[in-house]
Symmetry: C2
Subunit: 243 residues, 2 copies
Amino acid sequence: MAEYSTRPSRPTPASGIPPLTSTVEFLATVPLFHELDLEELRRFGELVREKSYPKSSVIVFEDDPGDAFFIVREGRVKVVRVGDDGREVILDRFGPGDHFGELALIDNGPRSAHVVAIEDATLLVLRRDDFRRRVEESPKVAWALLGELSRRLRSADDQISSLVLLDVPGRIARLLLDHITDESTTIEQAITHQTIAQMIGASRETVSRSMRDFQQMDWISVDKRRITLTDVEALRKRARARE
Amino acid sequence: MAEYSTRPSRPTPASGIPPLTSTVEFLATVPLFHELDLEELRRFGELVREKSYPKSSVIVFEDDPGDAFFIVREGRVKVVRVGDDGREVILDRFGPGDHFGELALIDNGPRSAHVVAIEDATLLVLRRDDFRRRVEESPKVAWALLGELSRRLRSADDQISSLVLLDVPGRIARLLLDHITDESTTIEQAITHQTIAQMIGASRETVSRSMRDFQQMDWISVDKRRITLTDVEALRKRARARE
DNA sequence: CGTCGGTTGTGAGGCGCGTCACCTCGCGTT
DNA sequence: AACGCGAGGTGACGCGCCTCACAACCGACG
């Protein structure tokens, strides 16, 4: 099942076969490094180790010391917190070209959440000190990192707002709208109700019922877990309560 | 009513009277600038304009273009989102030495929330381009900014987790624990139930009832809106469900 | 020192949503 | 073709919390 990040990146080769592109070529496609020239990319390339993780394996564990920074090369991962009753919240999901692990790295704090492979994944790993040195000597990367953290902070604030201000159907509508592009109202990524539930803080059953209602109202149509938004305006109205 | 930030800062002079400390002296106390030497501080000092806002006035309005960066000199402000039914979420509260407005400034996006003065406040204002230039030429500030955004992202993720994993009393317990220091289990800042409710996404009444229960169990004691945690362990247990 | 706006306490009622229980369906595996 | 497992659908039930309504209180300010 070929899956892509929401970010532009070149097509991944058939799984199992080593990537056709070199590490540096791949780094050039990573948004965080867009501004870098070839020489700088090569220097980063020298620092990375490639590591692969099978589906469901834990990549970083909460409260570990944060001694590494990761870039997703292939596959997808999720960032989760687990309550002591076992319930999970999905804080983020990352695909090829995305990166994570910068927080612990910047402020030396412990990891704040688990990161788990959703599919078989191969990651590029940088050691903390190497990465930090590079960031300190390259304002371009520091600036790009600021941009990325800004984006995430905005989206976290959106998430908090919807948890407080919206009911479950409203939060689902918002999530659906967040996942379409300008070109298409179909969500390419297949996604399960369970996953949606964990992303918006609801139960699987309630998500199921809401999605049924959305279909009955002809706001969405579902085929093989691929969701198409047929009435974006209606969904937008349902999701409105913020701002 | 004299109120202080949670961050170290010199005592504020009686309100109304112009501050005894010069702008540069004040800047030296701002955590964001801790690493800067006097010369660098002076250069920042030249760029700032001082502006005062009466209580309840709106400092930045959601969806405004973000063309300024703010540092709180005196008073306190809150960052809020408003649902279309009028309900409010408080995303952040800032006091002397804190700063806000960096997001719109980094990524050129629109403001993501309102900022409103909780008390009469005087702020230092930097124009976007000035600030950006200074950050780009001073890695120290860029790094400090990364640290600050990291902190906020962690705390936003904590907030999301508790909204999903904890019930209202649990979220209150967590908020209380977040507001004590290592030295004292008393929350210096007076705070209303209404404010607590808007910070944790609950109704005023439910907060009131939970706080009554906490008092009856001798977990906290309240005197003139100043809260003392008398059984930190019990509260910690009540707040546990994350990690 | 009385009045008034903002804060708190509490009861009653209703409902959104979580939980439990069970069934069906689709799909990959042997 | 039969099996098993993960995903989805749906009813019943209960409860946590929101809402509404009103009373008591407190501090500020004329």
